[in-house]
């Protein structure tokens, strides 16, 4: 049943819009489109001198899954460098493909294992953040 996809945690995460907004002085910006649905995520970050994310803000034009993912990612991204974000991405990939359970809010994305067509909605914020970190 796809309705399980929109359990309260996902809806709440989407509505929470954790990290939504703009940075005053971003050091890098990443933007990614999903050409199949037209959704778009913009990630702004400020990197500390240690190469770790000091601040993060995002703008999502997308579905609830994309918004929820951006919230969940924002909650865990600060303090991580590119490798740390890659680890988060691997964790999320595990959750949505059904190979692992995921920690905290990431676990809410487990129903995606039955909805292949929506996985890109979840990974789009990660792609945008990767783009920002890549320069």
């Amino acid at each position: 049943m796809s309705q399980a996809l929109y359990q309260d945690r996902i809806v709440a995460l989407a509505k929470a819009k954790l990290g939504a907004g703009k940075l005053a002085n971003p050091t890098a910006i990443g933007e990614r489109d999903n050409p199949l649905c037209g959704d778009r995520v913009r990630m702004e970050i400020a990197l500390g001198p240690d190469g770790r994310i000091a601040e993060l803000a995002h703008k999502v034009r997308g579905c609830a899954l994309c918004e929820a993912s951006a919230s969940a990612l924002s909650a865990r991204a600060v303090g991580r460098d590119a490798a740390g974000i890659a680890t988060l991405r691997a964790e999320m990939d595990g959750v949505i493909t059904g190979t692992s359970d995921g920690e905290g809010d990431f676990a809410a994305f487990a129903p995606l294992r039955d909805h292949k067509s929506r996985r890109d909605c979840v990974t789009l914020p990660f792609e945008a953040l990767r783009a920002a970190l890549a320069g």
């Binding site: 049943m1 796809s2 929109y6 649905c37 609830a64 929506r118």
Partner: protein
Amino acid sequence: MSFDVAALRGQFPILGTLVHGLPLHYLDNGASAQTPRAVIDAVVSYETTARANAHRGVHALAEAATDLYEGARADVAAFLGGVPVEEIVFTGGCTAAINLVAHGLGASLKAGDEIVVSELEHHSNIVPWHMLAERAGATLRWLPVTDDGRIDVTALGTMVSARTRVIALAHVSNVTGAVLDVAAVVAAAKAVGAKVLLDGAQRAPHGPLDVAALGVDFYVLAGHKAYGPNGIGILWGRATELDRLPPFMGGGSMIGRVEKGRITYAPSPRRFEAGTPPIGPAVGLGAACRWMSGLDWDAIHDHEMGLVQRLLDGLPDIPGCRLVGPAGLQGRFPVVSLTLDSVHPHDTAQILDSFGVAVRAGHHCAQPLMDRFDIAGTTRISLAPYNDSGDIDAALLGLREAVRRFA
């Protein structure tokens, strides 16, 4: 009403499948319609009794395959109003058909020439012209779209000029369901000697046509949206226009003679059918055309429009629901797009799916139209003759649940 929707549904094996344990309510016909048993049987019969290459052999199976393939051409010609069979070109799809015409007309396009499209075109009726314009140094002119989702033909006067070579427009919008005022377009084109191509992908599934009487030069459609198989499309062109068009792809069967350094081409339609054609898919589409030609389309039109009315009547009860397209039944086909203020179209479609309701959400390959309305996408309910009131009611129920879920 003489139309028996239950009997019609019985001809479509897939309509009996369960989705998440629920009955299927298939309302995504604009993306791909379902196919009746008669079409499947025709293809299986070809594969099991007459499979061979067409036009290339003298043996019994080759004769049978050629007969089926050319018979399918005749079936399509009949469906399109009894046009000459030589005016029917089989292509790999609607998109391939438009590319064929764009390529062919491109050969005579000059820098500064203009191509008129509209803001509501499907990408398949934009990108080929854009690529052509880039190659030839020509310019695309965009007919605007009215607030109720129609191509604004009152703008033809300013958009169409002596520089216009082609006007390529959707006969019926795949997003708003609005039907084009063809006569206005043809009049404007005739006045300046421009060619008119109509994209009939969304019109063809709703009954026989008389393409010659429309006064246009080219008409294209997609097999899979007209109850036929995938991998087949139709280009109809007036003989005089097709005869002028250079070939698109090169290969077997489209040639006159091949010598080193010198190649001549076959007359149309063969010139445009390079390589082994999609024989099985063509046979299926022929069967689909025969099937469509046998239905009572007056009754079906009433039935389809009755369902649209039922849907339109239900929408005011859905908080934050807005229609993208004509508000009533006038000048429209049964394709209805809407947005919900609080729910993204993909979430809407996903929740509808949990009710067994299949609809399409997103930009519908019409991004310029989304930009026109400044929206990310719509949720689209598109009907076929086999839909019934249960389908509409399930959709309305799902829409209400979507809004509730995200309230």
